[in-house]
Amino acid sequence: MSCCAPGTEGALEFEKISHGLPSSEELWLSSRDLGNGLRQTDLSVPKVHCGTCITTVEGALKESPLVTRARVNLSTKRVSFVWKAEENGVKTDPVDIVRRIAATGYDAHLFTSAEEANDAYRNELIRAVAISGFAAANIMLLSVSVWSGATDATRDLFHWISGLIAGPVLIFAGRFFYRSAWNALKHGRTNMDVPISLAITLSYAMSLWETIHHGPHAWFDATVSLLFFLLIGRTLDHVMRDKARSAITGLARLSPRGATVLNRDGSREYRPVEDIRPGDRVAIAAGDRIPVDGKVIAGLSDIDMSIVNGESAPVPAGAGSLLQAGTLSLTGSLVLEATASARDSFLSEIIGLMEAAEGGRARYRRIADRAAQYYSPAVHLLALLSFLGWGIFGGDWKEALLIAVSVLIITCPCALGLAVPVVQVVAAGRLFQNGIMVKEGSAMERLAEIDSVLFDKTGTLTIGRPRLTNRGEARPEHVEIAAGLALYSRHPLSRALVSAASSARDFAEVSERPGEGLEAVAPEGTYRLGNRRFACGEEADAAAGSDATSEVVLSLDHRPLETFRFEDMPRPGAQKAVAALAREGFQTVVLSGDRAPVVKDLAARLGIADWRAELSPRDKADYCAEAAKAGHKVLMVGDGINDAPALAAAHVSMAPATAADIGRQAADFVFLRDSLDAVPLAIEISRRAGRLIRENFALAIGYNIFAVPIAIAGYATPLVASIAMSTSSMIVVVNALRLNRLARSEAARTEERAGTEPGVETARFA
C-alpha cells in the first residue's frame, strides 16, 4: 500500500523540519484538562485516508510513554490523544508528542473547536428521523389492517393506538418545522415550513376528531410519514453542510492562538491573542505569524505578505516597519510593539469589510423558498375554496372540512421538500469525490447562474510558491551546496531550492542575514547564497533578472558560482480551466494585488485578456459590487485575506484549500486538490443539479395537477393519498440519483485526461 505512507515516498530527511508544528504554548493553551494530571489534545491530520494511516499515527503516538490514549477519526480526519501533564515532576512538552506524528510524514494542525455544537444538532435530527420512522412504520401497519377491512371497535382501537403514537412524535419530530415556521411568520415571511406545519397539525387534529366520533377515516399515517420523509430531506441537507464545514475548518489554521509577551520587568509570558493590549511588546520568532498589528522595535526579518496583499516576494522588515496581523516572519526574530489589540487588527478590519460587502448571497433566496412563496398561498387558497365550495353547495360543513384537509395533505410539499435537498446532496457527493467541498446547497443554485469568473493571482492562478526553473542547467554539486545552505532558512526561495534538490551538503554552521541571504564557512572558503549584491559583495547592477522572475546567487568568496532562477508556477490545469471557461462563454478577469508587470505576464500566458493589478482588498470588493450592479453574476476565485471581502461580495465564491482561514470561511466552495480544473467542473455539476431540481419541481407539480382535482372532488381516500404521496417522493429521489450516473462519466473523463499528462506534477509543500 504505497499510497498510505506519504512520509516514505523518497522524502528527504531534511524535509521534516519544514513541517509547521504548533508551538508548545499553543498546544498547552488548546488542550483540555481531564483531571488526574491528564490533558486531551485534538489535532487535525488532513492526510489520513486509510487503515494503515490509522495504525501508523496511533502506533506512533502510543509508543510515547506520555500518551495514555490515542484515537484517529478517519471521517473527520482528526486525531485525539490524552497525555500526562507531567512525568516524574517534569512538565511535558506536547510538541515532542506531536513531532512523532510529523515524523511519520503526516502534518498535524490545531483547529478551533467552535463547531462542535453542530454535531449535537445532527444527532438531534437523526434521533427525530429514527423516532418518526418507527412511528410511521407502526402506524402504517395498523392502517393497512384498517384498509383491509377492520371495522367498528377494532378500527377504533387501531385509530386510538395510532393517535397515541403520532401525538408525541408530532411534538418531538415536528418541532424543527414548527420552530422554523414560527420564525418565518414572526418576521412576516412565509417558507416551506408553514404549509408543512399547518398540514401536519390540521391532519392530526382532524384525525383525532374523527377517532373520537368513531369515524371511518383517520390520517395519522399520512401525518407521520410526511414528517418522516421531510426529516430525511432536512437531515441530508444538514449532514452535507456539516461534512463540508468540518473538512474546511480541519485544515491549517492561520491566525495564531497566542504570543509571547515581554513584560517590562524582562519576564516572558505566553498569552492568548485576545489578551494582548496596544503597547505590549511581543517576541516573534522566525516562522511565526504576526498575531496583532504592530511596529517593529528590534530585529530584522523577511516578511511574507502574500496573504495580505497577494504579492509573492517577501518584504524585508526592520526597526520602525509596520506589520499587519496574519503576515509571516520568515527569516529572523523580531520584537514588536502592538499598535492595536486583536479586535482592531488588520484581520478584524477585513471582517468588517466583509460584513459591509453583503453580496448576492444575502439577497439570494433559495429555490425552495421561492417556490414556497407561490406554492403555499396557492395551496391554502385551494383548501379554503374547496371548504367553502363544499360547505355552501353541499351543505355538509363537516364533510367540507374533511375534503379541505385532504386537499392540504395531498398537496403537502412532500416531494417539493425532498426535491431540492436530495439533488443537492447527490451533487455535493459528486463534487466531494472530485475534491470540492460545498458549504451549503444554495451555493450550487447560485453557481449555476454566473456569467463571469474573477480570479485572484497569487495562490489561485499560481501555486503561490516559487519553484526553481533552471534546475537542469545548474551543476549538481552547486545545487547540493546551495541546498545545504538553504536548509537553514524559511525564506520561500530557500524552501524551493531544498525541495528541488535531491541531496544536501552538511554545513557545521550557517548564519542567516535577514533581507540578504545565508553564509557558511567551509574549508575551501566562504559560501554565500542570497541576492546578487550580498553574494558577490559588490554593487552589482540591478538590471539582472526581470521583474517577473526572481533569482538567487551562490558564491564562493564573492565569486559567483551559480545563479538560480525562480518563478511562481501557474497552478496545474490553470490554462486548461481558463480555456474551458472561455469556451463556455464566461468572461474571465484577473484581480491581483501584485505589481502590474507580473500580473500582465501571467494573464498573457494563461490567455486572459482582462486584468487589474495593484488592487487593495476594498478595490476588489468594489469591483465585484460594480459587476453586480451592471447585472453580472460573478464567481470570485481567491485565496488571500485580501480576497476575503471580494469573496463575500461576489454572487458566489470559491477558494483553494491552501487559502487563508478567513478566505475559506468566506468562500462557498473550497477545492482540495491542486488543479484549477475544479472551477469548470463545479460549474458543470451545479448546472446539472439545477436542471434536475427544476425537473423535480415539474414532477412534483405535475403530480399535484393530477391529484388535487381528485381530492377536491372528494374521492381521495387516505389510502390513495398515502400511496400517491410516497410514489411521488420515490420518483423525485430516483430522478436525483440520475446525477450520479451523469457525473460518473464526467469523472471518468477527467481521470483519463489526468492520466495522459504525466508532466503535471503535484507540488508538495509543507
Binding site: G51, L74, A130, I165
Partner: protein, 51 residues
C-alpha cells in the same frame, strides 16, 4: 380481539427495542467515524470496537 391485545403490544415492544438499540448506538458514538470503523475491522491489532 383478545389475541390483538397481546399481538399489538408485542409488535410495538419489538419495534421499540429496535428503536432503542439504534438510539443507544447513536448516543454511544458508533456513527462518529464510519470510514474508520470500516478499516479497523481489518486491523488485527485492535480487538475492541470503539472506546
Amino acid at each position: 380481539m383478545s389475541n390483538l391485545l397481546i399481538l399489538i403490544p408485542a409488535a410495538l415492544f419489538m419495534g421499540g427495542l429496535g428503536l432503542g438499540a439504534f438510539l443507544w448506538s447513536l448516543k454511544s458514538g458508533q456513527y462518529e467515524d464510519l470510514d474508520g470503523a470500516a478499516w479497523r475491522a481489518l486491523d488485527d491489532g485492535d480487538g475492541k470496537p470503539g472506546d
